[in-house]
Symmetry: C2
Subunit: 146 residues, 2 copies
């Protein structure tokens, strides 16, 4: 039982399940996002992927990320003027952007609150998604991630 092969098979399977055609590049991109769940930018992902796949190009990283977002395997988040960041947490959650450190924390979002927030929309508005972003100062570390 090769661990490498198992991981590969698992990732490949996960991609297929989401209608994303599995390729080595997509598997590695997904893997690095899952491995270090710290909301990396495309550039950071590119750097990490290059260590195990030095021939990958930045354009491919962008393409893979788009495919993964489309397939619902990762979420993209944007803060202010900064570059897009990617997040493997698929539970409904808000983001807290720590202004002091620049780090991003996931905040669990109770289903009830999502309903209440969507309820403020007047008739005629049909929201497919809601994004809640806090900005401020955190005196705790993100739980296991960043």
């Amino acid at each position: 039982m090769s661990t490498i092969t198992d991981k590969h098979a698992a990732l490949s399977h996960q991609l297929k399940a989401c209608d994303v055609r599995p390729t080595p590049q997509r598997e590695v991109v997904l893997k690095v996002i899952l491995d270090k769940r710290d909301h990396p930018t495309a550039d950071e992902i590119f750097a990490r992927v290059k260590t195990s796949m030095p021939t990958i190009s930045l354009a491919t990283v962008y393409n893979c990320l788009d495919a993964l977002v489309q397939g619902g395997l990762v979420r993209s988040v944007n803060f202010e003027r900064g570059p897009t960041r990617y997040c493997p947490n698929l539970h409904p959650h808000a983001h807290f952007h720590d202004e002091a450190t620049g780090s991003t924390h996931d905040i669990d979002l109770p289903a009830a609150l999502v309903g209440q927030v969507k309820a403020i929309l007047p008739a005629g508005y049909d929201a497919s998604s809601v994004e809640i972003i806090f900005r401020g100062k955190a005196s705790v570390q993100p739980h296991g991630t960043n």
Copy 2:
């Protein structure tokens, strides 16, 4: 009573009240944001300002916008990968981004809901601001703005 002078005096006063040193450029930038409250980008603001002040530079528009945001006279909003947009609505409100038309609608935010949303933050998190962004389809026009 010159209308032009009155408007100028009013804008100048508004800037001073917010600790933003009044300059002709800042007044015109603020004026165009207040006149057409449609969440314009810096480029759009630049184009509008140039009609009344053809010598202004884009860098100045960015500087003025930063000053106005600092002074709390306008809010900046970011959607996905798009350019930053500016909003003169100072009441607490969420944004609805219509995916079909690309237009942005302000959604009034009840104070109670803001409290409930902030209440989901665990101890150790101190949010200075919350931004709520909906994405979806609107079958109504924004009320007077866009």
